[in-house]
């Protein structure tokens, strides 16, 4: 009995202690971040967290976000999804229970799709900065748009077409080949759109080769591609794998043009790939060298804080936060449903990555840019409008 009362006392004291640690009253807004901090694309997670911390710091330094006449500080809860579908869903669940108002992330579609299911059923706003696979914002069973899931990036139905048109017009491809990760939603989705677009234009894809996440040897598939006498190669794969693929393609004697997608847009690609990637093209969200004044301000602040140029993930994360803050202000209250309605009623958002138009779904309509790797830098090459 005595032991029980001591235990009760300890629990009570602990309760008082813990509640004292919590900031008193609802003067903070908790926002979750679900990012790929470890796993196979850690630089994506790092860029995402950097941009998120920058966006939050800017608001807090200005005294907080004014909602319904009251200033709120923003508290960022960062969860690592390890770049795994199941961890991403679990991280989302954890953020839901931690009572965040909304969640930004995950970035890779293979993590964003399972997370979006959790966010949708928990009725919590989720904005994925970088996921481009259409499935992220669509309810799989009905094909209807999800109510609580939004994104800052264009979708692959658009990006795949842009890449295919570029291959036809700029690379003059007659025998295109594709090598993609069949175990990853993003890579698979865009590869299929690319293939379909080319075939609709009467061009047959001579080799449509696959591998699975984590593979490092592509020599067999690339030898097949060379044997099919392909003249162009589309690699819609993540930056950590592309350098190996490009080097091995050149090693087996493939000499045609190589084209990529927005998953290339990380400077890590150049540092791993070196001269082998020089001159190659890829489609992406924004070009830091033709930035608008708003984008320039962001680039300057990011460079001052982290000492490097923000990549597309950073820019899109920053835009996601911008959209969310604007929506919270428009909602006028700290309520998940109200914030959802406010995000859904945004029709035009002028972001760092350009103008985003929303037409009743969670997918923005925005233009894509094509970058070329030139002198070890991502250089603007062309713009493709929807």
């Amino acid at each position: 009995m005595k032991r029980l009362s001591i235990l009760a006392l300890v629990v009570l004291l602990l309760g008082i202690f813990l509640s004292a640690c919590q900031p008193a009253g609802p003067t903070t807004i908790k926002i979750g971040l679900n990012a790929e901090l470890t796993g196979s694309i850690p630089v994506v997670g790092e860029s995402c967290r950097n941009a998120a911390e920058l966006a939050v710091k800017e608001i807090n330094d200005a005294g907080g976000l004014e909602v319904g006449g009251q200033k709120y500080m923003i508290e960022l809860l960062v969860e690592d999804n390890e770049d795994k579908a199941e961890s991403a869903a679990a991280a989302t669940q954890k953020l839901v229970t931690a009572n965040v108002l909304a969640m930004i992330g995950p970035n890779a579609s293979r993590n964003a799709i399972p997370s979006s299911v959790v966010a949708e059923s928990s009725k919590m706003v989720m904005i994925s900065p970088w996921s481009t696979n259409p499935k992220t914002t669509i309810v799989e069973e009905t094909g209807a748009p999800k109510q609580f899931v939004f994104r800052a990036a264009f979708i692959d139905d658009f990006q795949g077409v842009v890449a295919a048109k570029f291959a036809m017009e700029q690379l003059q491809t007659a025998k295109p080949a594709v090598l993609y990760d069949v175990a990853s939603e993003y890579n698979k989705g865009i590869a299929e759109v690319y293939k379909k677009t080319l075939e609709d234009n009467g061009i047959t894809v001579v080799a449509f080769e696959t591998y699975t996440t984590g593979d490092k040897d592509f020599s067999s598939q690339l030898t097949n591609i060379k044997n099919a006498e392909a003249d162009s190669l589309f690699l819609p794969n993540y930056y950590s794998e592309v350098p190996l693929q490009v080097q091995q393609a050149r090693k087996v004697g493939f000499t045609g043009g190589i084209l990529g997608s927005d998953s290339w847009g990380n400077l890590e690609l150049i540092s791993l790939c070196g001269a082998d990637c020089e001159g190659l093209f890829f489609t992406t969200h924004y070009a830091s060298d033709i930035a608008t004044p708003k984008a320039q301000a962001f680039i300057k602040a990011y460079e001052a804080a982290y000492g490097k140029t923000p990549d597309d993930v950073a820019a899109l994360t920053y835009d996601s936060f911008g959209m969310l803050f604007q929506a919270i202000q428009a909602a006028g209250k700290i309520d998940r449903q109200a914030v959802r309605d406010a995000v859904a009623s945004i029709t035009l958002y002028e972001g760092v990555t350009g103008n985003m138009q929303f037409k009743g779904t969670g997918d923005p309509v925005k233009s894509a840019v094509i970058l070329q790797i030139k002198d070890g830098k991502f250089t603007y090459f062309a713009t493709a409008n929807p």
Partner: protein, 302 residues
């Protein structure tokens, strides 16, 4: 024709690495009847030892003879990895030697997870993929439509050399004889005066240093990252099982079989079928030859 020669070369390159790692699985199993699931991650650590040493070496002594630099890196990686494996054996496996075998297997899985996550958390390593510095200049030769790179040649030749060397050690030396004797009967042999603990440590050291050869060679051709040991470890483990786990020549054969399966499945079937074919092969083989190609029948349960 050139196409098939090219693919055969690709398969030999991949198969050599699998064979080298499979040897570690098979040797430990042979002596302890325990599957060291941390072996793939020990292989991963070896590539990082090679990475840090070669970066340091080339930084300190630019213009060093590439062959000298390569051999030095190889030896340091072998020694460092062997030391790691011996420490793991002493700390994690030895206390469990009399425990049910499943405990040791689960401990091995735990050690593997520890190594992966330690490397991710360890600041100088981190989760980002890297290339080893170019120890040997990568030159591609085109011989009648078949491209062969210097790295490919080095991988195939060094692996072959190491495997022959190991075969000699196991079959022709006293240490090798002791290893074979312990795997034959680990209760009677100690009574004959064979120092069991030392031989077991030596087996771990030998298996790990062979994995380090594989790791250094692998790092010259591919990127390295803390999670790389998982996939390669599994393929090497299947190699060991296909060849007959516990049998050294079997592991070598198994490694090359898996290398050929990995490369030639996409030649004849859509590349999506690759893993399916590899694992089906394992299943079918285990139905008809439960102890692998060269394995001897066993009465005991694993």
């Amino acid at each position: 024709m050139e196409f098939y020669i090219q693919q055969t070369l690709n398969a030999l390159q991949v198969g050599s690495v699998y064979a080298l790692i499979a040897l570690g699985y098979t040797m430990v199993y042979g002596i302890l009847t325990m599957i060291n699931f941390a072996h793939g991650d020990i292989f991963m650590v070896s590539t990082y030892i090679a990475f840090f040493f070669s970066t340091m070496l080339l930084g300190a002594l630019a213009g060093l003879n590439p062959i000298l630099a390569f051999v030095a890196t190889l030896l340091v990686a072998m020694f460092g990895t062997a030391l790691l494996a011996v420490i793991i054996e002493r700390l994690a496996y030895k206390p469990l030697r009399t425990a049910p075998r499943i405990s040791a297997v689960i401990t091995a899985l735990g050690v593997g997870l520890f190594l992966e996550n330690f490397m991710v958390a360890f600041k100088p390593v981190g989760p980002a993929p890297r290339f080893l510095p170019a120890l040997i200049p990568a030159i591609n030769y085109n011989i009648g439509g078949v491209t062969v790179s210097t790295i490919q040649i080095v991988i195939i030749l060094v692996s072959a050399l190491v495997m022959i060397l190991l075969d000699v050690i196991v079959r022709r030396t006293m240490v090798g004889m002791a290893m074979r004797a312990i795997s034959w009967d680990k209760f009677i042999v100690p009574l004959m005066g064979v120092p069991v603990d030392r031989i077991i440590s030596l087996t771990f050291a030998l298996g790990a240093s062979i994995a380090a050869v594989g790791g250094t060679l692998y790092g010259m051709a591919y990127t390295i990252d803390p999670y790389m040991g998982i996939r390669i470890g599994w393929w090497a483990f299947i190699s060991a099982v296909v060849g007959g786990i516990g049998n050294i020549r079997g592991a070598m054969i198994g490694g090359f079989i898996l290398g050929f399966v990995e490369i030639f499945t996409p030649v004849f079937l859509p590349s999506t079928y690759r893993d399916f074919v590899a694992f089906s092969l394992l299943l079918v083989l285990l139905i008809f030859r439960p102890t692998g190609i060269l394995g001897r029948p066993m009465a005991q349960k694993v």
